[in-house]
């Protein structure tokens, strides 16, 4: 049996585990409900305005959702002792971590996309507000721009999930895993940006380097990509940030490094 097939078996088990865990299902439902509520309350009227309304909630909720789905994936097996049982089978650490990530990723993406699709359903039925304050060309509003936001959000969720899997692989106890998970979410939401600002204020880096540094923060990189690919095409004025390529490399780097590190520590932690 190939490593890929074994990873597939692990992935299937992970996905079914999420489907059969009421707490995670409730959390996913809560996430969908919150995004829907934001869309309903904002009465956006346009996809671009909806993107603006959803951007901050998504930046907060997606990391929480991804960590909730991922931080116990490997840790739970380790604490119960089942990880040792798995290790007595011909399953490589790459297959195991890859399978865990894949299975949880499908579940996270399903929840993330469900929320964004539910939110988008309000656009055609709402009267909307004047778009002129966000874009100079109101007529360019399009579901395609919203789809770009959806795609970027999915990618952001996958990056954060990779970090959650790293936490899960490295933690030795529930308490440690929870502490690491909460710390990582806080770091994502405010820590990285604060550190970059502190570095800037301290004169350690020049203002010119700021935009590139922002690519090191997953949330900032995601935000920048949303601005560049979704809002900028409408002619809207967007804050200066890292170039799309740099931000993409930044996000991908977090995912690759996290999964690689998780693969390295999973048998050892």
């Amino acid at each position: 049996m190939s490593s890929v097939r074994r990873a597939g078996e692990v992935a299937q088990r992970e996905f079914l585990t999420v489907l059969r865990t009421p707490t995670l299902l409730a959390l996913a439902a809560g996430y969908v409900f919150l995004l829907t509520a934001v869309a309903w309350l904002s009465v956006a009227g346009t996809y671009i305005a909806l993107v603006l309304d959803l951007l901050t909630p998504v930046e907060v909720l997606v990391p929480i959702l991804a960590f909730a789905f991922g931080y116990r994936a490997i840790l739970g097996d380790r604490e119960s002792g089942e990880l040792e049982t798995v290790r007595t089978y011909p399953v490589s650490r790459v297959s195991y971590v890859g399978g865990v990530y894949l299975g949880r990723a499908v579940a996270v993406l399903a929840a993330v996309l469900a929320g964004l699709v539910a939110a988008a359903l309000f656009v055609p039925f709402s009267s909307g507000r004047d778009l002129s304050f966000t874009a100079t060309h109101a007529t360019v509003d399009s579901p395609v721009l919203y789809l770009r936001f959806v795609f970027l959000t999915a990618a952001f969720a996958l990056v954060v999930l990779a970090l959650a899997i790293l936490v899960s692989a490295a933690a030795r106890s529930s308490r440690g895993g929870l502490a690491l998970g909460v710390g990582a979410v806080v770091a994502l939401l405010v820590g990285f940006d604060s550190a970059i600002l502190t570095t800037l204020a301290g004169g350690f880096v020049s203002g010119d380097s700021l935009t590139a540094l922002l690519a090191l923060s997953p949330n900032s990189a995601f935000r920048s990509l949303v601005f560049v690919t979704t809002l900028a095409p409408t002619g809207a004025s967007v804050p200066e940030g890292p170039a799309a390529l740099v931000a993409t490399v930044g996000l991908a780097g977090w995912a690759v490094v996290a999964i690689t590190a998780a693969t390295f520590v999973v048998w050892n932690a």
Binding site: G76, E84, Y89
Partner: protein
């Protein structure tokens, strides 16, 4: 000596074939030496029971045999087919509560072989009637049987069982002992750690006594009794590796060393 753990790929049908060969294995955790120059072998179609006081190194030795730990020194050779050479039952086996008994074994079966006969595996340990039950609803004894079933997935020639009957009622203990006897009959080599000396007297072909990380006896039960001049294994164990941790004697294959 370089630590080495190898799995040969040939498997013979000869019943007396040595399938586990442990030579001069030592293992420490920091400054604490847990195993020191442990050597023994286990033949196919036999049951070797590892006994000794708590902290004598039994679990560490089993984890080394299962490939979960590497020895600092010495070699462990397990002869088996490519794939799963050693089946392992942890001291407190736990499986995901969201899955049924059948799904759990099927998952492990697919990790080794897409054609695993889940029904036959469950039948062997007597869990067929609860195959559709969620793991979270199993009793402690049934969970142990599920762990035993899991250990046999892939038909490994060597089974390493860590206290398979600890904390179980006499009926469940007997059931597990019967399953182990059946595995021996099928030609598997079973190495188990236990404190249940009555079960040892019943099923052991070989008793391995660990004291302070050293193997102080390795012989059939009757030989251990004879050489120690005791009537029960409990007394023999007390004499060989008592609470004071003192190693009183060495017995190898019936000869006092």
């Amino acid at each position: 000596m370089t630590a080495d753990q190898s799995v040969a790929t040939a498997r013979s049908d000869e019943s007396a074939e040595t399938v586990v060969e442990v030579r001069d294995v030592s293992r420490s955790f920091g400054d604490l030496s847990v195993l020191e120059d442990v050597s023994f072998s286990v033949e196919a179609g036999s049951v070797a029971c590892l006994v000794g006081p708590n902290g004598s190194g039994k679990t560490t030795l089993l984890r080394i045999l299962a490939g979960l730990l590497s020895p600092d020194d010495g070699t462990v050779s397990v002869t088996g087919e490519a794939g799963r050479a050693v089946g392992y039952l942890a001291q407190q086996p736990v499986f995901r509560s969201q899955f049924t008994v059948r799904e759990t074994i099927a998952f492990y079966g697919r990790l080794v072989d897409a054609e695993t006969d889940v029904a036959a595996i469950l039948d062997r340990v007597g869990l067929s009637t609860v195959a559709g039950r969620r793991v979270g609803a199993l009793s402690g004894g049934m969970m142990r049987l599920l762990g035993l079933a899991q250990a046999t997935v892939g038909d490994p020639p060597v089974l390493v069982l860590d206290e398979p009957s600890s904390g179980l009622d006499p009926m469940m203990t007997r059931r597990i002992t019967d399953v182990i006897a059946g595995l021996r009959q099928d030609g598997d080599a079973v190495l188990l750690a236990t404190h249940d000396l009555r079960s040892v007297e019943r099923i052991a072909d070989e008793v391995l006594v660990l004291g302070r990380g050293e193997l102080v006896a390795s012989a059939p039960p009757e030989t251990v009794l004879e050489e120690t001049g005791t009537a029960t294994l409990e007394d023999a164990l007390e004499k060989l590796a008592g609470d004071d941790g003192g190693v009183q004697a060495g017995i190898r294959g019936g000869d006092a060393a």
